[in-house]
Symmetry: C2
Subunit: 152 residues, 2 copies
């Protein structure tokens, strides 16, 4: 059992932000830590709850601001179809990712598939469209759940 690979990840985030010239404040770092510690996507209000400090509760904008920052820097992703957020599994380099979301067990897998990225990019440029933020989420059944439930 590991002494937190988390801490290493967070230090990676620190150095990434230093490179980008942006500030990974304690608040933002904490939100990132919560996301990374979770094995599933978290809603903003779940994060809010996880951040509460005894009786003292934070307000939504605090968490939304931190999330905006993390998403902007590529340290986290928003899953539009779930209204939830995940920590990025490989934030070190810029990338466009895709998500496989199991409707049955909630498992989310982040892909970084070049063939998909390329086909998107080329379809967009055929229309003269300049993509900025791709949202690619496949909702379906993961391998484990397909087996469990049997082929339909």
């Amino acid at each position: 059992m590991d002494d937190e690979p988390d801490e290493a990840v967070l230090e990676g985030a620190d150095s990434l932000c230093r490179r980008l010239g942006v500030r990974l404040t304690p608040q933002r770092r904490r939100v990132l830590a919560i996301l990374r510690a979770s094995d599933r996507p978290l809603g903003a209000y779940e994060i809010l709850e996880a951040m509460r400090d005894g009786a003292r509760a934070l307000a939504p904008p605090t968490v939304y601001r931190a999330l905006d920052f993390l998403v902007e820097q590529g340290l986290a992703h928003k899953l539009e179809s779930l209204h939830a957020f995940v920590g990025c599994t490989h934030p070190d380099h810029p990338h466009s990712s895709q998500f496989l979301i199991c409707a049955d067990c909630g498992l989310v897998t982040e892909l970084e598939n070049d063939a998909i990225a390329r086909s998107l990019k080329s379809a967009a440029s055929e229309s003269g469209f300049e993509p900025r933020r791709p949202v690619v989420e496949l909702i379906g059944t993961c391998a484990a759940c397909s087996v469990k439930e049997g082929p339909r």
Copy 2:
């Protein structure tokens, strides 16, 4: 006053539903008409507003139920990143579509690109994932707006 291509579209929807053995009730037909008459995605509450009949206002579930139906039959699509809905531009055959969403002017273009669909499907099956509902939305700048604003 109307030779509206709309009426033709709605009749197409009628016959599609007959084929599918489902009922395109007046309520649902009306929501579809509103979507098709709009040149941009509409939120559920905008549709609600468009459906209001003088002083008499409908309640949200009415519209959400109609939208659920339309989306299920492929007559409309939900844009997850906008929390909004559009009428489908080619509902006649089952298809998985992709959307180009201009963050600047709001223009939304529906694509039906096989290369994208194939690359998604193959990436999914590599993971043993069985896709059911694809969500593919590219947020960026459309051709017209790219020109207007100039290359950055």
